[in-house]
């Protein structure tokens, strides 16, 4: 277990540095940075103190802490997929708008 914990911690530190770096580069907003840092902090807490999830799971009426993590992850993943879907549709539309503008501006020949 201790090996896993150390490996995860190393990865979390790496993730932290990336997030902060992206924020400094101005690629992500302050809110996004805080959200990501919170997420990775949660991961870190869970990996060192797995019991915290068990007590939280019991409050929510879910049997085990591990189940809570899986349910929670599923919800987050679904949400992210949805966000990506909306974004993709938006990009598709922008491409169409662009392609249309080009088609109409090339004076139609008869």
């Amino acid at each position: 277990m201790i090996v896993t914990q150390i490996l995860v911690t190393v990865f979390v530190i790496f993730a932290f540095s990336r997030v902060i770096l992206r924020f400094k580069e101005g690629k992500i907003s302050l809110v996004a940075m805080v959200a990501w840092l919170l997420l990775w902090t949660t991961v870190e807490i869970i990996i060192w103190e797995p019991k915290t999830t068990t007590s939280l799971a019991q409050i929510l009426g879910i049997g085990r802490g591990a189940d809570l993590i899986i349910y929670g992850s599923l919800v987050v993943l679904f949400y992210l997929v949805f966000r990506i879907y909306v974004k993709l549709e938006d990009i598709e539309r922008q491409i169409t708008t662009l392609v249309r503008k080009i088609a109409l501006s090339n004076k139609p020949k008869k």
């Binding site: 879907y85 909306v86 549709e89 938006d90 598709e92 539309r93 491409i95 169409t96 392609v99 249309r100 080009i102 088609a103 109409l104 090339n106 139609p108 020949k109 008869k110």
Partner: protein, 228 residues
């Protein structure tokens, strides 16, 4: 009255020439007919076939799908000040003689949006009928418009409809989107029966039945998200 015929075409080199040649040159009460083919990023000789004829061509550099192509054709129709717009498929499944029929309710000011319904006519294979029926049901459940052929590509729009209807969907979902928009703007919708030719070519070119699932999923998501 000026009529603009919009034909979206993607890789239709074999048949587009025939379709264009069979279009009517004169229609009663129509003073000017302009045909515009939207070449939707075809990789074959579709563009060459179109350019051989006296037809306006608008070229998409990238394939955007049926909805994208129809949208471009309609934008053009606005620019050239069309009074009536007719859309029809480039795969030869529609009979251009039916143009008279679909524009009649608009000329008589009895409708703003006319659907050329294939189910009221004859010639559709049974599997297509089933998929179409599901399409009609989904369109009704999601958008509250009940028609006998919600997925028809043969339709006519009045000038009012042309300016009111805003299309956002890029692909085949656009057929249902037309109806949603027509309903949203309280346009008068009328159906007229049309002939349909189901040739081996048009069957191979048209939508696969399985594709219907994608369309319905997309429509449902759009209904839920209500994307702008």
């Amino acid at each position: 009255m000026k009529l603009v015929i919009v034909i979206p075409a993607y890789n239709e080199e074999k048949i587009i020439g025939q379709v264009l040649d069979s279009l009517p040159q004169k229609i009663t009460r129509i003073s000017k007919i302009e045909t515009v083919v939207v070449n939707d990023g075809s990789e074959d000789n579709t563009e060459f076939e179109i350019r051989k004829r006296k037809t306006t061509i608008l070229s998409h550099h990238l394939n955007r799908g049926l909805g994208g192509a129809l949208g471009t054709g309609m934008e053009y129709a606005k620019v050239v000040n069309a009074d009536i717009v007719v859309t029809l498929d480039a795969d030869g499944q529609h009979d251009p003689k039916d143009i008279n029929r679909v524009i009649e309710p608009i000329i008589k000011k009895k409708a703003d949006f006319v659907i050329g319904s294939r189910l009221r006519g004859q010639g559709m294979p049974i599997d297509r009928k089933i998929v179409n029926w599901i399409g009609n049901l989904v369109t009704f459940l999601l958008f509250g418009v009940l028609t006998s052929d919600s997925q028809s590509g043969f339709r006519a729009l009045s000038k009012k409809a042309l300016f009111k209807i805003k299309l956002q969907m890029n692909k085949m979902e656009v057929s249902s989107e037309f109806l949603r928009e027509a309903k949203r703007h309280h346009l008068k919708i009328v159906e007229v029966p049309i002939k349909v030719f189901y040739t081996e070519y048009s069957k191979a070119k048209g939508q696969k039945n399985v594709n219907a699932i994608n369309i319905f999923t997309k429509l449902l998501l759009h209904r839920l998200v209500n994307l702008k």
